[in-house]
């Protein structure tokens, strides 16, 4: 009896230890930045390509060449509301963090004290970026004005407010491999890097499962708009019949082939893609033409709603 109890206890301990170990942060190797020097000049356009400002500039701030990354933007999700933190070069931001710590946050989703960061911060895309590019972005951020604004707490419901549980999320949903595999031209590869890594286009354009993980089988096939009503459109070839030229024009000016102008969060994305080179915009277009066409799923009713409708949608094959 005592023996049995003891072994149960041992198993439980080992189990807890394993769970802790499994959910512990998986940091970049300590040597990741060896021989890497961030270049702030290169970092400026990479910062735009990665859209850091879209989230970390204070809401309503005027457009400027030296944005203040004081945070404060709110992101409503099914798990609660996230508030972007201050990442300006100040003690309230990342001023006291080492380059390694910031790069590790961006590429591994772990903060300076080793805590997991939520995937509302798209590290699950940036984990495919090169260390050099991220180091350049960090060098650029260090040239921007400091802000002493304190970061505001997220407003999350239990159990999503427990950061340690994100370790489990990472095990299930973190992907450091490319979605689009196979033989690609150098231009398509560049496009893949800009879309899947820096541009994190999939974070908005790909549907999520109930736990917020991206459904990579429906990559870029469109999703409900978390910012409110409406949908983020399907941009696979099944949903987007624009020419590569049309895509390039939109990424540069916002104009669609019908001379409508994209709005919502895509308007911010266009402010960023407008800063890229023509070659990079063309590479994004080439990549979008190369991803597998996926029919849009029916707009999903609010979480937990009727399964009947889902059944109908899959019965019909598409909608």
């Amino acid at each position: 009896m005592r023996r049995a109890l003891l072994s149960v206890a041992v198993v439980a301990l080992v189990g807890a230890g394993a769970a802790w170990w499994l959910t512990a942060p998986d940091n970049l190797p300590a040597s990741a930045l060896d021989g890497v020097t961030g270049d702030a000049g290169r970092g400026q356009v990479l910062f735009a390509a990665a859209g850091c400002g879209s989230c970390h500039i204070a809401p309503g701030a005027e457009e400027t060449d030296s944005p203040v990354l004081s945070g404060g933007r709110r992101f409503a999700t099914q798990f609660g509301t996230f508030v972007a933190p201050n990442i300006s070069p100040s003690p309230q931001g990342i001023g006291d963090w080492s380059d390694y710590q910031v790069v590790n946050a961006v590429m591994r989703g772990v903060d300076d004290e080793g805590r997991h960061l939520y995937p509302a911060f798209p590290w699950n895309a940036y984990n495919k970026a090169t260390v050099q590019d991220v180091a350049d972005i960090v060098a650029y951020i260090r040239t921007l004005p400091p802000s002493d604004a304190g970061s505001l707490p997220h407003e999350l419901s239990f159990p999503f407010d427990i950061r340690q549980s994100l370790g489990g999320w990472k095990l299930l949903f973190e992907h450091r491999d490319w979605v689009l595999q196979g033989d690609l031209t150098p231009e398509q590869e560049r496009g893949r890097y800009l879309v899947e890594a820096l541009g994190h286009c999939g974070e908005c354009h790909t549907p999520r499962n109930a736990l917020g993980g991206l459904d990579r089988s429906a990559w870029l096939a469109g999703a409900p708009d978390p910012a409110g009503k409406g949908r983020v459109p399907n941009i696979t070839p099944a949903g987007l019949d624009w020419s590569e030229d049309d895509i390039v024009t939109m990424l540069q000016s916002g104009f669609t082939p019908d001379y409508d102008v994209v709005g919502g969060e895509m308007a911010q994305v266009v402010r960023n893609t407008a800063q890229l080179s023509d070659e990079d915009r063309a590479a994004i277009a080439a990549y979008l033409k190369a991803v597998p066409p996926v029919e849009s799923t029916a707009p999903q009713p609010g979480a937990g709603d009727s399964t009947a409708e889902e059944g109908t949608a899959s019965d019909e094959g598409d909608s």
Binding site: G228, G230, P233, S253, Y259, D260, V261, G263, G264
Partner: protein, 159 residues
């Protein structure tokens, strides 16, 4: 087809006295009409930009007269007093057939400021369109920003 219907409706609206139009559309509520009218109005913006865009992208040859005509249309369209397009109860929280976000009615002053920003951008376009291709290209970019600046905050994608 739907787009065509809206454009036709708007063309009709501009030509006919309102009474005739309302009589024709007796089965539609004032709210239905407002939504169709404003969407048709937006399509007219887009339609006039198309000719300018083709020139700006050098897909058709630059022609000062054509460019000026389209820019003048845009400035007339942008100048219209459009309060009656936006009655209460016509956001996408109230109905399915619109992309207008409730934020419009929460920030009507800012929404109007965005409308004025468009009027300014279009006035600049009117001068630029007849000047030369490079001026047209520059001014088009600012018009796109004025359209997109409003859509960013006040319009969701319909689907």
């Amino acid at each position: 087809m739907h787009r065509l219907a809206k454009t036709t409706l708007l063309a009709t609206a501009l030509l006919l006295p309102a009474g005739v139009l309302l009589a024709q559309e007796a089965d539609e509520s004032p709210e239905d009409l407002a939504v169709e009218m404003r969407q048709g109005h937006m399509l007219n913006f887009a339609h006039n930009l198309m000719a300018l865009g083709a020139m700006a992208q050098e897909k058709t040859a630059y022609d000062a007269a054509t460019a000026t005509a389209a820019a003048e249309n845009l400035s007339h369209l942008a100048a219209i007093h459009w309060d009656y397009y936006w009655p209460e109860g016509t956001s996408n929280a109230d109905r399915q057939d619109t992309g207008a976000l409730p934020a419009i009615w929460e920030n009507m002053d800012d929404f109007n400021a965005k409308h004025e920003a468009l009027q300014q951008a279009v006035a600049n376009l009117q001068t630029a369109a007849g000047t030369d291709l490079a001026s047209l290209q520059g001014a088009m970019g600012d018009v796109g920003k004025a359209c997109g600046g409003c859509h960013e905050t006040y319009r969701a994608k319909e689907e």
